[in-house]
């Protein structure tokens, strides 16, 4: 049987309404602060728009070239060591805020990506390759190397803990 596409529906409508209400209250209490917050949000949105474009293009390219079966093979139940490696590498390479990657991960998860790999992806994002020189400048080379190595190991262990929790729950 052909898999039916999910009908289009906005997600987080109520959250958006709640945030708008929050802005309304903030505006009544401190209009200057509310305007500054709005300005900050607009700046963030402008900055991460290119990342959103990259995420959309990346999702489309993945869906075009890689079939759901292949995604499940590389990141699903029987992916083995490869899955851990891909999740770790993707997390380290990924750029921008965590929530910018939610749509792509949601898509991969619907195709069979395991939860432990999502945990590894998020945890390994703590390593920011473009920012390493700044980290070295502020905290020194030893600190940067040590914390980066522990973050990588930590990300894998967190993934394993998530795997154990998933097994225990099922």
């Amino acid at each position: 049987m052909k898999k039916q596409d999910k009908p289009f529906a906005f997600r987080g409508k109520y959250l958006l309404v709640a945030v708008l209400v929050l802005y309304g209250i903030f505006f009544l209490v401190n209009s200057g602060g509310a305007l500054s917050a709005l300005q900050k949000s607009s700046t963030i949105l402008t900055k991460i728009l290119p990342i959103f474009v990259v995420v959309i293009l990346f999702t489309a390219t993945l869906n075009y070239f890689i079939k759901p079966k292949q995604i499940a093979k590389h990141l699903g139940q029987k992916s083995g060591m490869k899955g851990w490696f891909w999740a770790l590498a993707a997390g380290v390479i990924s750029h921008g805020p965590m929530y910018a990657w939610y749509p792509l991960l949601d898509d991969l998860r619907s195709h069979g990506m395991k939860d432990e790999y999502i945990v590894v992806f998020f945890a390994s994002r703590a390593i920011k390759i473009p920012l390493l020189p700044i980290m070295i400048d502020y905290f020194g080379l030893t600190f940067t190397i040590v914390i980066s190595l522990y973050m990588l190991f930590g990300a894998l262990i967190q993934g394993l803990c998530m795997q154990l929790a998933t097994i225990k729950d099922t």
């Binding site: 906005f10 997600r11 959103f52 999502i118 905290f139 930590g154």
Partner: protein, 156 residues
């Protein structure tokens, strides 16, 4: 009328590959479906950046390594912004004599934890996943901070 064997042949043939444009359209639509969620999160980040200032966060630290490590993890989770800002605050905290345990925990939780994105994370990945992931990230931020500080002290 189509002959039965032709029908069978059609059924067995592999499904046609949709064009890239169609796939791109589908991906854009799924992203658009998440737009309210992402906009709400960005809106929350804006409010937090105004209400929770770096100065305010820095003033909370007491100088007790254990308490400060816990506080570093918590404040890093509350704070929002570019990781470079966390380096700036972290460097300032170190200059003020705050322990490396606390600063490391602060740097780690700044990126891996985030109170402002919790509602969006629950909506996308579900409550159970969000709870487990955030508990793990919280615990590991502290463990990594302690191990990093001890290792750096030993090495230097």
């Amino acid at each position: 009328m189509t002959k039965p064997h032709t029908q069978k042949k059609q059924q067995n043939s592999p499904p046609q590959q949709p064009s890239f444009l169609k796939v791109l359209q589908k991906s854009s639509l799924s992203f658009l479906a998440m737009a309210p969620l992402l906009l709400a999160t960005i809106g929350l980040v804006g409010i937090f950046q105004i209400l929770v200032t770096p100065k305010m966060l820095a003033s909370l630290f007491q100088g007790d390594p254990l308490f400060d490590t816990l506080l570093g993890t918590l404040t890093g989770a509350i704070a929002v912004g570019n990781p470079i800002v966390s380096y700036l605050i972290g460097g300032e905290l170190l200059n003020q004599g705050i322990s490396l345990y606390a600063v490391s925990a602060f740097l780690l939780s700044w990126i891996t934890l985030g109170f402002t994105q919790l509602p969006a994370e629950v909506e996308v990945f579900g409550g159970r996943f969000t709870l487990y992931r955030n508990i793990l990230a919280f615990i590991f931020a502290m463990i990594t901070a302690v191990l990093t500080t001890i290792t750096v002290q030993v090495l230097s």
